[in-house]
């Protein structure tokens, strides 16, 4: 068994590009997070871990963390469930399959800013189509309970195609022979799913979970346009809070601290996913 050829030549372009573009910003953010930097007052002072200590007792941070975790957990679970069902449905052959698959991509294809305004319009209490169809007068975006669920529903609608398209690709590489053999053995649909489909889909599900969680945890545009973080900060996610701290109050130090915290949190979740779901990551 000869030694495998080395692949550095293949890997280098990506690493070079990534390092060149992101090393400075990432270090800059880490660096700033250890400073007290108030642009307006021209204060830029190294304060070590003070920002992080402040963060630990910052109620608004914990509120944002709570909102973000809830948003992410519910969104991603729903997206995975719905996405998996849709992918399995679309995996079968039927007429117009191509067209349906293209249509399924529509929510993902619409620009986020348009999507959010669209949903804002649909959620309108007086002339929104949602209330019209339900015959109700729910204050979707202004009620402290409904607002975050309205945001979740919009996000699930928008990003489920991402899950679907990845899972379809994953389903495609599962050899048909396995299914045929199982059918011959008389296995039922559920057993086929549990024993064949799901295990072989695990790597793709892992990718879906990681990237969807990553995105949901960092969600900004969609929710900001929809609710601005309100009412009463019930939809203020970590990114929205960080945005306000950075660009509204110009506290570049603390804003960076918040960003680093998001980064660390996502990092832990990713490691957790990888450990639980991946069989071997060489």
């Amino acid at each position: 068994m000869t030694k495998r050829e080395n692949g550095y030549g293949f890997v280098m372009p990506a690493l070079v590009l990534l390092s060149f573009v992101t090393v400075y910003p990432i270090f800059y953010v880490f660096y700033l997070s250890l400073h007290r930097k108030l642009l307006i007052f021209d204060i830029s002072k190294y304060v070590g871990l003070d920002n992080y200590l402040f963060l630990l007792q910052d109620d608004r941070f914990w509120n944002a963390m709570k909102n973000t975790v809830y948003f992410t957990a519910v969104s991603v679970s729903l997206e995975l469930l719905i996405g998996l069902s849709l992918a399995i449905l679309l995996h079968r052959s039927f007429r117009f399959k191509g067209l349906v698959r293209a249509i399924v991509l529509i929510p993902w294809a619409i620009p986020t800013v348009v999507s959010a305004r669209m949903w804002e319009w649909m959620y309108n209490t007086d002339f929104g189509i949602l209330n019209y169809m339900l015959g109700a007068k729910i204050n979707w975006l202004g009620d402290t309970f409904w607002a975050i669920h309205a945001a979740i529903l919009m996000d699930v609608w928008k990003t489920t195609p991402f899950v679907v398209i990845l899972l379809i690709a994953g389903l495609k590489v599962i050899p048909q022979e396995l299914y045929q053999a199982a059918k011959i053995d008389g296995a039922g649909n559920w057993a086929i799913f549990r024993r064949i489909t799901f295990p072989l889909l695990r790597p793709v599900i892992l990718i879906v979970l990681i990237f969807r969680t990553l995105d949901a945890f960092r969600v900004f545009d969609a929710v900001y346009v929809l609710t601005g973080g309100g009412p009463a900060n019930t939809t203020e996610t970590l990114s929205i809070y960080a945005y306000k701290v950075l660009f509204q109050t110009l506290q570049f130090g603390y804003g960076s601290t918040l960003s680093v915290t998001v980064f660390l949190f996502i990092g832990c979740i990713s490691i957790f996913y990888i450990k639980i779901l991946s069989k071997e990551m060489r």
């Binding site: 495998r4 573009v21 910003p25 800059y28 991509l105 195609p161 990718i207 960092r218 660009f247 960003s259």
Partner: protein, 270 residues
Amino acid sequence: MKRGVFYFSIVLMVLYCSGPFLWQFITSLKPDYELTMIPPVISKNPTAIHYVSIFREHPFLRIILNSAIVASSTTILSLIIGSSCAFGLAKLRVKYKSFILGFILSVSMFPPIATVSPLYIIIRALGIRDTWLALVITYTTFSLPLSIWILTNFFKEIPDEIYLAARVDGCTPYQIFYKIMLPLSLPGIFTTAILVFIFSWNEFLFALTFTSTPASRTIPVAIALFPGLHEVPWGDIAAASVVVTIPLIFIVFAFQRRIVEGLTSGAIKG
């Protein structure tokens, strides 16, 4: 019966996905005074004025061109760099693979609002403010983690024996990559291409910060410029979203039929 349930589910899914979009389409045909009427149904006096307006009042054609060029360039670049990296990680000898994959992933873990400021400084320092290049570099970078992770997974699915057999036949790793691996992982490539393309098509924050004139402005920023301080031209926005989404659908549809349908898992064995 089962077929009935199946088709019913398909119809439900189509409605679920396209419902709001269809509603946008209906809205785009309504004259202004009908936009907030109840019940919000199909207009009695449909008008194409919004479609005319978006091209007349904004250099929308140039904007679409910008988006198309930026998105295509990003997709091509991301695929080339990403698949090459994924092949190296999946099939060749590379030290610290997990670490590299972790580093690549970590690029995507920062909230974009944190990185937009320092990135903008880089862009300005390089003198490429308000150019396609600025966006292409940025988008390629931020789409690489997804590309690499997806493609690494797909390359891994291809049995090692194929690689070894090809080496025995005297192929260089590059030839194997180009002639064998790529064709075999087309579902992954195609999927990645769609996702990266749509990501660049719709990205807003960096586009807003790095562009300042129609020279490089992309679609999401242009649409964000539709509203005035208080007035929100729903009709125009709806028309714009129809205009920019339908081509995407066609592209996806066209690509699908040519590439994906032709693939069978038998190719893996052969």
